[in-house]
Amino acid sequence: MINHLHARLTYLTVLLLLAGIIFTTACNRSDSTGQSGEAAGEKLRIAVIPKGTTHLFWKSVHAGAAKAGQELGVEIIWQGPQKEDDRQLQIQVVQNFVSREVDGIVLAPLDERSLVPPVKAARNRKIPVVIFDSDLASKDYESFVATDNYAGGKLAAQRMAEVLQGKGNVIVLRYAEGSASTTARENGFMDGLKEYAPQVKIISSNQYAGATMEKAYQASQNILNRFSEVDGIFCANESSTQGMYRALQTSGKAGKVKLIGFDANETLLKAMQDGHLHGLAVQDPFRMGYEGVKTAVAVIQKKPYEKRLDTGVVMITKENMDSPENEELLNPDLDKWLEE
């Protein structure tokens, strides 16, 4: 009997512990946003759903969204899928926000098709959806706020043609299956290369880096082992660029092979300073978050908004990376917006 009781007590302890965790974190959250269930009545609540939460890119989006939230006086709820390449989990996050009856959703879909039904469900529940970063294979949303990825890819091709002086072998390391934004970049790059440097040969364009830097690193090592006579490499996002850069470093080819990537982080900028990275097509994630939320609010408040908003791409090189406007783009003051 005593032992019996003991088991129940332990069970209770575990549950209480859990309650504790949830409670404290929940309280922290509501303190920090100054929001709780009851007060939310007047303020608009906008859910911003990124593809993931660990990349710096998404932190910039978050900061931009937060800035818009403060300017417009709306509550921003930031929630990504638990695992970065899991469509299923992102579907669930969207569903949960629909259940929660937020006023608007700003979403970067992990997959152009899988996210169609939940977005449609949101619309059926009269919740406007603004898509950002990557496109969706349906027109059930209000607005698309993103970089013109195809143009970004072309910009990268232009730079590649420049650094290779119009000849050589080039590898395109693709990001992941089913990701519309990176596919557009890759296509833009390959089309652009034909246009700017017709003599350049693309020797590989069917390998995928995968969703994490670790996977990208391994894929890069394998591809470098296979194609030893490569002159230039293009990677379509942050993690694959970093994975490839690491692989070039470990095989002693950093600096010798011209590497052009997409999106920036500290490691990549350092590599650029060292001359190991020859160009980064940089989007403006901060602006994406900012404009995404602004558009969503405009839709809700029935103000005019744009159906398609280009947030622009800039080619950063070693030469221009220190210019003031690029400095602002590369090192936005995130803390100012994220820490209240």
């Binding site: 859990l18 949830i22 959250r29 899928p81 669930q92 949960n96 629909v98 929660r100």
Partner: protein, 326 residues
């Protein structure tokens, strides 16, 4: 009396946990948490893990484990998509082709399960290793069939299985939820009231005893893995319905959620214990947690920590239960 009391505790321990978590979130969350629509959302979100957990429950009771279910689900979605595209004439899909596609997915998973079961019983390799291998193989085959891309499919009725607001309206819950309920009744009967179920428990509790009592252990092991793979196949249909595409990278790591559901529900990894009721409750607990954390706007790491605590906590309770018995 005392014994039945204990039984009740072990059966309803997870249930109390579920109620606790639900009540906790009801207090903390905005009222939308307890709305009918949100309940529907939670139930629908636990369908995939729940159905796969039924199969896993049988395997875990028999003292085994299957690490390949996540990959099998991905393979299933790809098979469905591929078969659907074969039958795609540009016109309406009709009823038969999608049904055929669904059966093909169940068959594909069944083949995986059969191979696993045969290997385990024929060559006496531990299930962990065999299914670890199958995890890679099934994933690889899925990518191969899908040519390393998601396979897009024309609209068909399979895509409506997981809808939150189903047509016709009187269904109330999506067909996936009803299918889960039917499978739950089926598995409960199977485990409690059939010779097959009894043998599953006997093999998991003590394989040597099972042999001594004349149970053809090898035959049954193959049957268990094959049969539970059918459930994985059904789960893959639901996964497809959710994604609307065949996705070779789907359900990556989902096997751990599924195993966790079974363990939270009282399944013992050393075999001989577990129930369909416990496993579906385990799946529900995790769905409630995810949903509730989303509602509260908690960051992902909190969800991960909480689910981790729940798993270890559930096993701890399980241990204590054992100590009482001993």
């Amino acid at each position: 009396m005392n014994i039945t009391g204990k039984k009740v505790l072990s059966q309803f321990g997870p249930f109390l946990g579920l109620i606790f978590v639900f009540v906790l979130f009801s207090i903390l969350c905005p009222p939308a948490f307890t709305s009918v629509y949100n309940i529907k959302t939670i139930l629908t979100q636990s369908v995939i893990v729940g159905i796969a957990a039924f199969g896993m429950t049988m395997i875990i009771i028999s003292g085994g484990i299957d690490l390949s279910v996540g990959s099998q689900i991905a393979l299933g979605t790809v098979v469905i998509a591929t078969v659907l595209n074969m039958g795609n004439t540009g016109a309406e899909m009709g009823f038969m082709w999608p049904l055929l596609a669904a059966l093909a997915a169940i068959a594909a998973c069944g083949v995986c399960g059969f191979i696993i079961g045969r290997f385990i019983s024929r060559f006496t390799i531990v299930p962990f290793i065999v299914t670890l291998g199958m995890m890679q193989i099934a994933r690889g085959v899925a990518k191969w069939i899908a040519k390393e891309q998601t396979v897009t499919t024309p609209p068909n009725w399979l895509q409506d299985l997981m809808l939150l607001d189903p047509q016709p309206e009187w269904l109330f819950f999506g067909p996936g939820v009803w299918i889960t309920l039917i499978l739950f009744v089926l598995v409960t009967i199977l485990l409690r009231y059939t010779v097959f179920g009894r043998y599953v428990f006997a093999i998991g509790s003590n394989e040597q005893t099972a042999r001594l009592c004349g149970i053809p252990v090898k035959y049954y092991k193959t049957a268990i893995y094959t049969f539970s793979a059918f459930f994985t196949g059904i789960a893959s249909i639901m996964q497809y319905s959710n994604l609307t595409v065949g996705d070779p990278t789907a359900a990556n790591g989902m096997e751990l959620d599924i195993i966790a559901a079974v363990v939270i529900g009282g399944g013992s990894l050393s075999g001989g214990e577990g129930s369909a009721l416990g496993s579906i409750i385990g799946a529900l607990i995790m769905a409630v947690l995810r949903n509730g954390c989303n509602m509260l706007g908690l960051p992902n790491y909190v969800q991960e920590i909480i689910i981790g605590v729940i798993i270890v906590g559930a096993v701890l309770v399980d241990r204590l239960k054992h100590r009482i018995k001993a």
